[in-house]
């Protein structure tokens, strides 16, 4: 699976390469093309929003990047390294993270235990037979993340007792475990109240600058406030790319997206 890497490729992997580079990625479900010939380049630290109506292929795109599905064709490079054939956990260990549209948290565990599990997942103590000690570095890391997503008061709350909005915040903390290099957020604002949306925008804007992400978001207001570039998708293809302002002004986009779905 790991082809020998040339020196130039190695150098590429460290600095100059794009955080994420998709070349000709397609995903077929039988005769249905969920993704067709997708080309995307995201620079390290770049924050990109992906917009598009239901069925445009946004979540399928995420699933192909994280390896939940293998792309039918095309290549995916992560910081210069070809990860197209890697299983999900190998991609995650390289610093890629994602959140899910439908929360997949462990509802029987506490907030901190959920985050602790995610910290352990990308560390070497994954197979440890020893319980964490009080001064465990991963426990401390989990505690920091609890604070980072504004859940300090709910540290020991069992997840099933959290509000929906708090669960979405926890979902973000889980994705932030273990110093990720790039994150995919799948509709983090869906179902949130206006107050909770404001808090989400605050959390996303408060992430360290080197941490790039792609965010799928229906709410233009949220998307345009947390992203510096926008990709519009339609029917499994990329429809438009550009700065938020350009996209918002674009008559074609307005006709298709703003007019089509929301209005």
């Amino acid at each position: 699976m790991n082809a020998p890497v040339s020196v130039s490729e190695r150098l590429n992997a460290t600095g100059t390469a794009n955080a994420l580079e998709l070349r000709g990625v397609s995903k077929l479900f039988g005769a249905l093309a969920a993704l067709q010939d997708i080309n995307i380049s995201v620079k390290p630290g770049e924050r990109r929003a992906v917009l598009g109506s239901n069925g445009a292929g946004k979540t399928t795109l995420f699933n192909c990047i994280t390896g939940d599905f293998l792309a039918t064709s095309g290549s995916i490079r992560f910081f210069g390294e070809d990860i197209s054939a890697f299983p999900p956990h190998e991609r995650i260990r390289r610093g890629l993270r994602r959140t899910y549209q439908i929360s997949l948290l462990f509802t029987g565990l506490s907030v901190r235990d959920n985050i602790y599990l995610s910290c352990v997942g990308v560390s070497r103590s994954r197979f440890s037979f020893l319980r964490p000690r009080r001064n465990d570095a991963l426990v401390a890391a989990a505690d920091n993340l609890v604070d980072m997503v504004h859940l300090s008061d709910e540290r020991d709350t069992i997840v099933s007792n959290l509000s929906y909005g708090q669960q979405r915040q926890l979902e973000i903390a889980v994705a932030l475990a273990g110093a990720p290099r790039f994150i995919l957020f799948d509709e983090p604002a869906a179902g949130l109240s206006p107050t909770e949306r404001r808090e989400l925008v605050e959390i996303l804007n408060g992430l360290p600058g080197h941490m790039g992400y792609i965010i799928i978001e229906h709410d233009m207001d949220v998307a345009l406030r947390v992203a510096e570039s926008v990709t519009m998708m339609h029917n499994g293809q990329i429809f438009k790319e550009g700065k938020p302002a350009e996209i918002e002004e674009d008559p074609e986009v307005q006709a298709l997206y703003l007019g089509g779905v929301d209005g």
């Binding site: 994280t66 997949l104 462990f106 565990l109 602790y116 997942g121 319980r131 009080r134 020991d156």
Partner: protein, 353 residues
């Protein structure tokens, strides 16, 4: 059930010392088990409790896989049988033509290593399947092991197997004497029990339960679900191997029938009767099974029925328990606790989620 247990700081609770944190039930059961030889007969010590602890350890290995990993393996008795065979082959037995006569401190580790290797191999094959297919593939392996040992005379001595397989005479103690054997099995049962309890809250055990509940999520957290499952089989094989060596010492022999299809199913029955949600279930199940197996015959004869039908009683007992509580005796216990805590106004358990 928090992973990280330090509630100090939030409320100023006096930190408890380690022995204050042990629940009262542990003190009571521990004390009774320790002083048991002062009042129990040799038969009770050797046959009832010795056998309970051994079966409990083997069923515990299934409980670990089934309860925490969601994988029901029918091959745990096979792994135990393999360890038993290896201790007979590497160590001493009456079959001097095959047994190598290695000292115990070489033979035991080698027997356990081979049991773990076999368990890992079985796991590696079985984790590709789910649910009923896991049961089928592991049952097929159990059947293959049974017929292989019965037909192979060069290594496994075929139909008759090995007799005269005895524990070492360590510290001048005859470890097959009733009291010594009782403490030997008690020690290993307790060690295995606490090991499983401890590991269930360590990263490895938590991740295993995570894989059981939501494999996709665990992959997205960087866990290799397959590797975790195979590792669980390896650890369970260590437990089953310990049980298998003790079982061989208890009956002083090992033959194909020890690890046949019947005993493989018995282990499942033991684990299910007790309940797979907590390690103690394996030992509760083993105790009930041993009591039934030992006294059902006498009970039937006393009622004027044919003594050969004792399996029927075990089967009926199994049916009754599974019918009333799919979680075994532990499930019944929890139901009872819940009904005691029930709020008469809302008709719901007090602390149940």
């Amino acid at each position: 059930m928090a992973v990280i247990e330090d509630k100090i700081g939030a409320v100023a609770i006096e930190p408890k010392t380690w022995f204050e944190r042990i629940p009262a039930a542990y003190w009571l059961v521990g004390f009774v088990l320790l002083v048991m030889p002062t009042f129990a007969s040799n038969f009770v010590l050797f046959q009832i409790f010795g056998w309970t602890f051994i079966l409990g350890i083997i069923a515990l290995s299934l409980m670990f896989l089934g309860g925490y990993g969601g994988m029901v393996s029918m091959a745990q008795m096979t792994i135990a049988g393999c360890a038993g065979y290896m201790i007979a082959i590497f160590g001493s037995s009456a079959i001097t033509g095959i047994s190598m006569g290695w000292p115990w401190f070489v033979a035991i580790p080698f027997a356990l290593i081979i049991a773990v290797l076999l368990g890992t191999l079985i796991g590696w094959l079985a984790v590709r399947t789910e649910g009923i297919y896991t049961i089928m593939i592991t049952l097929a392996i159990a059947a293959a092991f049974f017929y292989f040992t019965r037909q192979n005379y060069v290594i496994f001595n075929g139909f008759s197997g090995f007799n005269g397989v005895l524990p070492p005479q360590l510290f001048g103690v005859d470890w097959r004497g009733p009291i010594a054997f009782y403490y030997l099995t008690l020690f290993w049962a307790a060690l295995c029990y606490f090991a499983v309890l401890y590991i269930s809250r360590a990263p490895f055990g938590l991740a295993l339960q995570g894989v059981r509940d939501n494999q996709r999520r665990m992959s997205a957290l960087g866990y290799n679900a397959t590797a975790h499952r195979v590792a669980a089989y390896a650890f369970a094989a260590l437990l089953a191997g310990i049980g298998g060596i003790l079982l061989t010492w208890q009956s002083a022999q090992i033959s194909p029938g020890t690890a046949g299809i019947g005993p493989a199913i018995d282990i499942l029955v033991v684990a299910v009767i007790g309940g797979m949600r907590h390690p103690i279930g394996a030992f509760i199940g083993a105790f009930i099974y041993v009591i039934l197996k030992t006294f059902a015959l006498d009970a039937l004869v006393a009622l004027g029925l044919s003594g050969e039908r004792f399996q029927l009683l075990i089967g009926l007992g199994f049916l009754v328990i599974v019918f009333w509580s799919p979680d075994g005796i532990l499930g019944l216990w929890e139901k009872w606790k819940e009904s005691r805590n029930k709020d008469p106004l809302v008709d719901r358990g007090g602390d149940a989620p």
